[in-house]
């Protein structure tokens, strides 16, 4: 879509919201129009972002914290379009495919563990934040690592393409830490590098570290340590310049925050045993997330 058609779409959407009385049938645009016409909404999900969006017991049905909020948005869309029979289709995305698939119209709404950042805002729009993480370290309790300063000259693993990777490399460049940084292809492989002794610590979003720890052979051997090096807000991704659709999604998430329903969803995924193995992450809600829930925002953490 060219910029001019884009701005026209925005203008039409704005005009539609401003001019038409809410009770009258609005002229649908963008994603809402597509959903109405096809009778289907396509949800983007992940396969192993525990406990945000992943395959639990069934290889067809994604589950997770982000997925539950995604379903809240679907409910709101059903109401908005008066389509109780709206069909939901799932489309698995990876960290490489998620942005293009949203942009080219394959996926209507992606909720997983996608950080809202300035670079991505050039390509897609984000819903209000659905989670906030701090980037910390997972290490063996006996490793002697208590914080980032202890990693001088050591092997540290992180997952390729994440903010943690960028932060570690910056730390090496700015503070001459001399760390050997291993960029593993996914969180599971990062943990394998840690568990097999190739790396002393694994830097990642704390919630995901708790997820990996819960999967370990001996969860009690491991600890999440260190001062968070950054905070990141996860959001659901949708196509850029589609305010009508974004309003419905944002409204649904904010409503779950206001009603307190989010606490129940949080407890279900972070404080209770979760599929497939019945592990309990035991990850109490952080002060940052409580703040986000009290004041929902679609800005990136670095913009606040």
């Amino acid at each position: 879509m060219t910029t001019s058609t884009l701005s026209r779409a925005v203008a039409v959407a704005l005009a539609a919201t401003l001019l038409s009385a809410p009770t009258l049938a609005e002229e649908l645009t963008g994603t809402l129009k597509k959903i109405k016409q096809t009778g289907t909404i396509v949800l983007g999900h992940r396969d192993a972002s525990i406990p945000f969006s992943y395959f639990g017991d069934s290889p067809q049905q994604p589950v997770g914290f982000s997925h539950d909020l995604q379903l809240k948005a679907v409910e709101a869309i059903k109401q908005k379009l008066a389509m109780p029979e709206l069909k939901v289709r799932y489309n698995l995305v990876t960290s490489q495919t998620r942005i293009p698939l949203v942009q080219n119209g394959t996926v209507d709404l992606e909720c997983g563990s996608t950080t809202n950042n300035v670079e991505r805002q050039q390509q897609v729009d984000f819903s209000v934040g659905i989670f906030e993480v701090g980037t910390r370290l997972l290490t063996k309790k006996t490793s002697g690592v208590a914080d980032f300063a202890d990693l001088k000259g050591k092997n540290v693993v992180t997952t390729a393409g994440t903010t943690s990777e960028r932060l570690l490399k910056s730390m090496n460049a700015d503070k001459q830490m001399g760390m050997n940084i291993i960029s593993a292809k996914d969180h599971g492989e990062s943990f394998l590098m840690l568990e097999s002794g190739r790396a002393l610590a694994f830097m990642m979003d704390d919630a995901l570290l708790f997820g990996e720890m819960a999967k370990a052979k001996q969860p009690a051997d491991w600890a999440v340590v260190g001062t968070p090096q950054s905070f990141e807000i996860y959001g659901c991704m949708l196509r850029k310049g589609d305010p009508a659709f974004k309003q419905v999604v944002d409204g649904a998430i904010a409503a779950a925050y206001q009603s307190g329903e989010v606490t129940a969803i949080y407890d279900k995924w972070f404080m209770q045993p979760i599929p497939p193995k019945g592990l309990n992450l035991n990850f109490p809600m952080s002060a940052e997330l409580k703040k986000l829930i009290a004041n929902p925002t679609d800005k990136a953490a670095e913009q606040l």
């Binding site: 080219n104 050997n180 190739r198």
Partner: protein
């Protein structure tokens, strides 16, 4: 499609030190070449040896070489890499295992694994080509060798291999190009070669299509260059009148 193109991305700062994204591609290309060339040395030496063994009149040696080919050709490359990188070090004696996993820089241990993996995998393919090269020669060549009073090793060295290796330069060229392309598996064990740097650029900048377009152009240019190089080699080593190599 709702995509925000930005071809200037390669000259923008990565936010790490003073690097721009283009620097990452240059570093990545360096690793790709280093992996492929080292792997190719192993592949060529071992592959030629195995190719010879497959044709010798000794059932055990030929069987051994053919078992090697079947194993290395029938197991997916990625599986082989994970075995070399994750499993094999655990089977080493403990001091060696600790040296490999902890004393070596992670990039070095990943590099050694991927070079060994690609070298051994490609050797199986080179072996088959050398074998067909030898078998393509008229059987009278061996007989003539014996008639001259040569012993078998001499026949291979002086008669068969010089001809067979010349015949198989074109298929070997394609294996040579393949090893450059296959080197991208290294991105999956954390070695920052060209594909890994491309993915990293795509993730960091959110300009996925620009990053992959540049990577495509680099791989294409690299392989075109190598192909021209190999054609020149083929012409250079051609013996006039022996085999119609590269010309009429």
């Amino acid at each position: 499609m709702n995509y925000n193109w930005d071809w200037g991305i390669f000259f923008k700062s990565t936010g790490i030190g003073s690097e721009i994204y283009l620097d990452w591609f240059v570093t990545g290309l360096g690793w790709t070449i280093a992996i492929a060339l080292a792997g190719w040395v192993i592949a060529l030496l071992l592959g030629t040896l195995l190719g010879v063994l497959r044709t010798v009149p000794n059932r055990w040696l030929a069987g051994l070489a053919s078992a090697y080919v079947e194993i290395f050709r029938n197991v997916p490359l990625l599986v082989q890499l994970f075995l070399w990188y994750f499993l094999v070090p655990d089977l080493l004696p403990e001091p060696l295992e600790i040296w490999f996993k902890q004393d070596l820089a992670p990039a070095t241990s990943a590099y050694l694994s991927v070079v060994l993996c690609l070298g051994l995998f490609t050797a199986a393919r080179v072996c088959e080509q050398v074998r067909t090269g030898i078998q393509a020669l008229p059987s009278g060549q061996i007989a003539a060798g014996y008639a001259m009073g040569f012993r078998l090793p001499q026949i291979y060295r002086e008669v068969l291999l010089p001809q067979a290796l010349r015949i198989v330069i074109p298929p070997l060229t394609s294996e040579f190009l393949n090893i450059f392309k296959n080197s991208s598996v290294a991105s999956l064990i954390g070695l920052m070669e060209l594909l890994a740097q491309t993915k990293q650029t795509a993730e960091f900048s959110a300009n996925l299509f620009e990053a992959f377009t540049l990577a495509t152009l680099i791989y294409f240019t690299l392989n075109m260059g190598l192909m021209l190089l190999m054609r020149a080699v083929e012409k250079q080593v051609a013996v006039p009148g022996l085999i119609a190599v590269g010309g009429k």
